[in-house]
């Protein structure tokens, strides 16, 4: 067995952390210059560096140096790794984000260097979700290097080298760095050489030693390289060799080793980062959803309205989102000033999304035939509601970006006296309080049923007699009910005192209240919460200030509570609408409590508890041991209660952190700690805190029978996070009918996450989808008017599939790189 220690000269660069991006950019330039100089000085030295974003900076700022890098890459002396835009946080980005990390980066590497990265490399990221093997493989990478959690944090994960499997069956050869990514200086190098030698002897295979100044860049220093050269053949030790991760893994493959395998996620490290700095979390979620939806409608528009696709703009926008998923940004542990930059760049992405979205849906809407002969003509030129004043209803087109039909309340900002659908049937509606304090104070909410990834047209008759004060009458009770559940809030505490799933008949509250706003003491940790995995020290529960029923109509009921803790306030509106399986809670928190967390607790009780969390393109079960857990749109607690297997899922529009201490699920909504505090001695200073001030967010409560994965939770959560859009329209002739579906799949456990143009400019369409319930299925099919046809597919459990459809309707299955890279 070859037990050579591969010396990986690298520079771990944080583009933002204790500095802003401008400084990070300068550090990249300086580090790359240094690396090139070292490569020229030492013929055997090899340099490894990740993150396409850095190369892009160099290309734009110093093209001459970029050329030097190209030459070194061609010679194999400079090895780009990690075919992603940065080293992102590996828990919170969506599956589609990971696809984009790979797409834009690997295509960039391919274009500039003629290669794609084989090794995924996230040596500093704080935990790694269980779907990464699939996300890496489909991004063209077979190998993975990480460091956190280390052996002290999780010793169950194989110590160094192992096969890592995701639930779909994908597998990457994975290496956990035993002792950091930035050895430098003789003492550090000596210690690590000895450690690696020992590990090589114990394991019987070679190891990697990462050296080079990191975090704020730097890379391998001259002295370190020379010291290593002196020690290449140290007596009593295995050989040392300048190398790269690619070469290490390829050499390992040629050894006949029976390595251990691991089929769970790699957790935990810095559990406080799942919730620190709500701002970036909210912006990320919003941008991910907005871009994915805008891109879908832009694609439709380019076909039905013959508009120019905004592919290049989306690329720019996604790159901003990908950049901000860098672990120290997304994890909320950078300096406060950095988040001003983050707001700017996320704003850039969001603006591209909203403009292209609006342009696209209006282009489509204007192709819809809303003209009624003999009726539309007299009001065609009229504006605002004068037509409606004359008793003529106005069309509103509702766009559904999901690949499944939705039926839910939609808001327009004017009151109505009647709503009908495109067939003339009456539609349930309710005039509700608006956010403005102008004219009649009323908006219309109407129940829209919109086909899968399509639109439906509704006709709203304006009600100029409507008055807000008429909308609420009757006694003040705090009981709400629809087809799926009953909810009652306690008048003394403002917590949920009864929550019953009407199908199972199970009472989820029972002896305990639910949705308890709980303040947790978080004073003794740092921003990351290094070495802290549980947040259980309750400082107190928020106390009720007021409770009132604000709506009680045909379409929905709303109860508003106000709570107080210390100097902080929380307003919640509990909204239960007809036909909705999710109880929505819109929150406004004015938070002042230093070193605290705000959690919403759902102590359902019951036995045989099982907790499930959404991860990118899938879900994972984790123990109900009270450790803080990362999740995407939802987390779930399923228990046996009253002899039945039932679950309560909590959905969030912007949060990523939960815990589950036994038969209790808690959403961590806020974490208010000092920015970038690394167990400092906190000198007397007027620190800024991560979540202080106004925070708006929403969460949802969904009840189900059976295990979470067999429920409707994925669609509920995606719908919650990505609402339909209502476009007020006018009267015109057009070739499109008033209701249309553009793309559809027959499988209930599959959702489509991307519909876009191929990045190679061919005009080909890209459709990406994934399986949501852990069930392999055959005879799935996609039908679409966009390419006037359809195709069949089989799909494995948890599998992500990407299809490319050319102009002749030939369909190929490709990976995230869209078939552009061979």
């Amino acid at each position: 067995m070859d037990k050579t220690i591969k010396l990986v000269g690298n520079a771990h660069l944080d583009p933002i952390w204790l500095w802003r991006w401008q400084e990070g950019c300068a550090e990249v330039l300086q580090t790359f210059r240094s690396a090139l100089d070292r490569l020229k000085e030492y013929n055997d030295f090899v340099f490894t560096c990740s993150s396409a974003a850095y190369y892009k900076w160099v290309e734009e700022i110093d093209p001459q140096m970029f050329e030097e890098i190209r030459i070194m890459v061609k010679k194999g002396r400079w090895v780009p790794v990690n075919g992603w835009w940065v080293q992102p946080d590996c828990n919170m980005p969506s599956g589609e984000s990971f696809a984009r990390q790979a797409l834009y980066s690997q295509l960039y590497y391919y274009e500039k260097f003629g290669i794609t990265c084989k090794t995924g490399y996230n040596v500093d990221s704080f935990g790694h979700n269980g779907m990464l093997p699939q996300l890496l493989k489909k991004g063209g990478m077979d190998f993975y290097v990480f460091q956190r959690p280390n052996m002290n944090e999780n010793s169950e994960i194989p110590e160094n080298l192992f096969w890592w499997d995701s639930a779909d069956g994908s597998r990457v050869l994975t290496y956990r760095l035993p002792d950091g990514y930035a050895a430098n200086g003789k003492e550090s190098l000596d210690r690590r050489i000895e450690e690696m030698n020992k590990r090589a002897e114990e394991t019987g295979h070679g190891m990697m030693l990462f050296y080079g100044v990191g975090n704020h860049g730097g890379g391998p220093a001259r002295g370190d390289i020379e010291y290593l050269i002196e020690n290449l053949e140290r007596e009593g030790y295995n050989d040392l060799e300048f190398s790269s991760p690619d070469e290490y893994f390829e050499d390992i493959l040629n050894e006949f080793l029976d390595l251990p395998s691991w089929s769970d996620d790699l957790q935990h490290h810095a559990s406080g980062c799942y919730s620190a700095t709500s701002l970036i979390k909210a912006l990320n979620r919003k941008a991910e959803n907005a871009l994915a939806a805008a891109e879908k409608w832009d694609t439709v528009s380019s076909i039905v309205a013959d508009s120019k696709p905004c592919t290049e703009e989306f690329e720019k926008a996604w790159k901003k989102v990908c950049f901000n998923q860098f672990h120290d940004i997304m994890c909320g542990c950078s300096i406060m000033e950095a988040y001003e930059d983050v707001k700017e760049s996320e704003g850039y992405a969001l603006n591209i999304a909203s403009e292209s979205y609006n342009n696209a849906v209006l282009r489509i809407a204007r192709k819809i035939d809303t003209w009624i002969e003999g009726v539309s003509e007299p009001v065609f030129e009229e504006r605002h509601f004068s037509g409606a004043d004359n008793g003529f209803p106005r069309p509103v087109v509702v766009f559904n970006p999901h690949s499944y039909e939705v039926e839910l309340p939609v808001r327009t900002h004017h009151p109505s006296k009647a709503v009908t659908d495109s067939d003339g049937a009456e539609v349930l509606f309710q005039n509700v309080r608006s956010s403005r304090s102008n004219d009649n104070h009323l908006d219309t909410l109407f129940m829209a049923k919109v086909p899968a990834f399509g639109y439906a047209t509704y006709w709203l008759e304006f009600d100029n007699e409507a008055r807000a004060e008429k909308e609420l009458s009757g006694e003040q009770n705090f009981f709400m009910e629809n087809e799926y559940m009953t909810v009652e809030l306690d008048s003394q505490t403002g917590y949920i005192k009864s929550l019953v799933d009407k199908k199972s008949g199970v009472e989820y509250a029972g002896e305990n209240f639910l949705a308890i706003p709980t303040v947790i003491n978080d004073e003794t940790t740092d921003t990351w919460a290094h070495n802290v995995f549980k947040f259980h020290e309750v400082k107190g529960l928020m106390e009720l200030v007021s409770i009132e029923r604000v709506e009680n109509g045909a379409l929905r009921s709303v109860v508003r509570t106000k709570h107080k803790f210390g100097e902080s306030y929380l307003t919640q509106e509990f909204i239960l609408a007809k036909g909705q399986k999710t109880l929505r809670v819109d929150c406004k928190a004015m938070w002042q409590e230093k070193f605290t967390m705000l959690k919403f607790a759902f102590p359902t009780g019951g036995s045989e508890e099982s907790s499930t969390y959404e991860i990118p393109c899938g879900y994972i079960k984790r123990p109900c041991n009270g450790e803080e857990e990362p999740a995407l749109n939802w987390a779930d607690l399923t228990v046996t209660k009253d002899g039945k297997r039932v679950g309560l899922s909590v959905i969030s529009d912007s949060k990523y952190s939960y815990d589950c201490p036994g038969a209790e699920l808690r959403l961590t909504a806020l974490r208010n700690v000092i920015f970038a505090d690394h167990y400092s001695d906190r000198p007397a200073a007027d620190f800024n805190f991560t979540d202080e001030g106004l925070n708006r967010f929403s969460y949802g409560i969904y009840l189900h029978e059976d295990e979470a994965e067999n429920s409707d939770i994925v669609k509920q959560a995606h719908t919650f996070n990505n609402n339909v859009v209502a476009v007020p329209e006018s009267y015109h002739k057009g070739e499109l009918s008033q209701k249309e579906s553009f793309i559809y799949t027959n499988l209930d456990n599959v959702i489509i996450t991307a519909l876009k143009r191929c990045e190679d400019g061919s005009g080909d369409l890209i459709v990406r989808l994934y399986e949501t319930k852990g069930i392999e299925c055959s005879r799935g099919y996609i039908m679409s008017k966009l390419f006037d046809g359809g195709f069949w597919y089989d799909i494995g459990k948890h599998e992500i599939k990407t299809f490319r459809i050319d102009r002749e309707t030939n369909v190929s299955e490709v990976n995230f790189l869209e078939g552009i890279v061979e």
């Binding site: 006949f256 069949w792 597919y793």
Partner: protein, 597 residues
């Protein structure tokens, strides 16, 4: 066990081709004026582009037929299964060519006019048992050779009348064993359902015994006296192909025939013992046709594939034929003992006449630790353990067999069985290719047969669980085939964790092509099945095509492979075992049963 899945009679495609002006061709087909269909709102994926359809007609029960440049599409909106709503027919198996000019309905079927003639697509109501018999009949009529089955070559594509009388396969033993196992299960199923002396039972027994004997003969026919198993044999009226090592029996010895392989191995003319007695009831398989021992040329260099199938056959034949025929059981037992002894004596390998191991029958640690054998170790370890368990079961003895078994367990053979995916995946990555493009699809059958045999016979619960775990390591590559021939044995092996999927099982039987006549399909014309290209260039469809719309193959090919041609090319007719093996095992173990509409 769960309730049996009911298989109902299905309208099944039966195709006949005609010249354009044959009398059978209806005049209306030649006169009908084609009308382009309006498919703008067609609700399912269509095999061809909508614009490529040029004609249509309606047959019984509102079934629509659409013809175009690329074949004929049948649309039955009321079909019970999603798979059956849209069917497609393409050249050359279903049509003479793909340029459809006109269609006229004919009851449940249709007449199709294409550039090169006319085709009658008859949709015949057929039970799955009827299909088994129909396929068996085709095999008995056209495919079997000395009661062995693999495939027969044709001189004219698609024309059964042009069948060549000779032709062997490297794996006659493998395919004949699988065929024999299927027929044995047919016999015992009918025996249970109809009684011992029902005409159908008696006929089934006759065919099963003959197939079993033909398979068993290969374990004796070399006559070396050391348990060496032949791949296949030829009689003196059959030409010896230049394909492997052949030994012509001359009496006391056999001499190695001059072939390229023999020359490469420098064994041309090598003499080897050949006079060990062959049981008379097995000899009759060739003596009844007038051949003597000296008319026999057998094929050597036998592989582990052959041995694995032989041992599963020994187990099944012993259970169902041997127990009612002690004389035959003794032959089975002797064969098991002889070959097992050979393998043990030769350091867990088959040894050829020149003293070297055969190319592909090595089960020893030296092979497992070699670059070539490292990835095979898991499969082969399970095979060897299965042979030993079968030998113990047949002989009722432990002794040397148990001692050897224990030693192998001690050496880590059971642990090796669970390493299939780990090692195979690593080797694929090493080669820079994806897992699915490096699979030897024939290995699937070997894994299934050896692990089922092993799990069935293993008394130690810890080892049994380990072998189940081993079976699971194969599921990732087995499952996408949806082959009940594999799945039934998997369900039997791991009943607590694996459950049959009724829809998939029904689809597989319903849509298995009614003939094994290879003639190719036109997958390349279709738009409804995405193509996935792996990094090594291998192509698969993203969904499994129904059996009657994809190429014909044995169990040794990837049914998802993107290709038009059948695995034996368009000049062949294959045997029925892929269907009958699955069907009769399914019937016997009550996974499936026939239902009536």
């Amino acid at each position: 066990m769960a309730e049996a899945i009911k298989l109902y009679p299905q309208l099944t495609r039966v195709v006949s081709h005609f010249k354009k002006y044959d009398l059978e061709v209806p005049k209306s087909l030649l006169e009908v004026k084609a009308k382009k269909p309006d498919l703008s709102d067609f609700p399912y994926p269509l095999p061809l582009r909508k614009k490529d359809y040029c004609c249509y007609c309606e047959s019984n029960n509102g079934v629509m037929w659409y013809g175009g440049k690329g074949g004929v599409t049948r649309y039955n909106p009321n079909a019970d299964s999603l798979t059956d709503i849209v069917m497609h027919f393409s050249a050359r198996r279903d049509l003479l060519d793909n340029n459809v000019c006109a269609l006229v309905p004919d009851k449940d079927g249709v007449w199709v006019l294409t550039d090169n003639g006319a085709t009658h697509i008859d949709m015949v109501l057929m039970s799955m048992e009827d299909k088994a018999y129909r396929l068996l009949d085709e095999t008995l009529t056209y495919v079997q050779r000395h009661s062995m089955v693999s495939q027969k070559r044709l001189s004219e594509a698609g024309n059964l009348k042009s069948i060549l009388p000779y032709g062997h396969s490297d794996n006659d033993g493998t395919f004949s064993a699988a065929y024999a196992i299927g027929e044995i299960f047919r016999y015992v199923t009918l025996k249970r359902e109809l009684g011992d002396f029902a005409e159908e039972t008696m006929e089934a027994r006759k065919i099963a015994v003959r197939a079993s004997e033909a398979t068993l003969l290969l374990m004796y026919i070399a006559g070396r006296g050391d348990g060496f198993v032949a791949r296949t044999y030829l009689t003196s009226n059959e030409p010896v192909p230049d394909d492997g090592l052949f030994y012509k029996k001359n009496g006391a010895t056999a001499s190695c025939v001059n072939t390229t392989d023999a020359r490469n191995k420098k064994v041309v003319g090598l003499e080897v013992k050949a006079d060990a007695p062959i049981p008379e009831r097995l000899r009759r398989l060739y003596t009844c046709d007038g051949f003597e021992d000296t008319d026999i040329t057998y094929k050597g260099d036998t592989s582990s594939d052959e041995i694995t199938h032989h041992y599963l056959h020994l187990l099944v034949a012993h259970e169902f034929l041997g127990r009612e025929d002690p004389e035959y059981d003794e032959l089975l037992r002797t064969a098991a003992v002889n070959t097992m002894t050979h393998i043990i004596k030769n350091n867990f390998a088959l040894r050829e006449a020149d003293g070297n191991y055969t190319t592909w029958a090595k089960w020893n640690l030296e092979y497992f630790n070699s670059p070539m054998g490292w990835a095979d170790a898991s499969l082969n370890a399970g095979q060897l353990l299965m042979y030993l368990r079968v030998t113990m079961h047949l002989t009722g003895e432990s002794g040397i067999w148990q001692k050897t078994y224990d030693e192998l367990i001690e050496k880590g053979y059971a642990d090796l069985t669970v390493k299939h995916y780990d090692r195979f995946n690593q080797v694929c990555l090493q080669g820079g290719i994806d897992f699915r493009e490096d699979i030897m699809y024939g290995d699937h059958m070997l894994a299934v047969t050896s692990l089922w045999g092993l799990i069935t016979l293993e008394p130690d619960p810890v080892l049994k669980e380990k072998f189940r775990q081993a079976f699971r390591t194969w599921r990732g590559s087995l499952a996408p085939e949806f082959n009940p021939g594999y799945d039934f044995l998997y369900f039997l092996s791991d009943p607590d964790n694996a459950k049959p999927d009724a829809d998939r099982i029904r689809t597989w039987f319903y849509r298995f092509n009614v003939s094994r006549l290879a003639a190719s399909v036109s997958l390349d014309k279709r738009r409804d099945y995405p193509v996935r290209t792996y990094r090594g260039g291998y192509k698969e469809t993203s969904a499994l095509l129904p059996g009657d719309e994809r190429f014909i193959s044995k169990y040794d090919r990837d049914p998802l492979e993107y290709k038009n041609e059948d695995s034996g090319g368009v000049f062949c007719v294959e045997s029925c075992y892929p269907y009958t093996f699955a069907y009769w095992i399914g019937r016997y173990f009550k996974f499936i049963e026939e239902g009536t509409n």
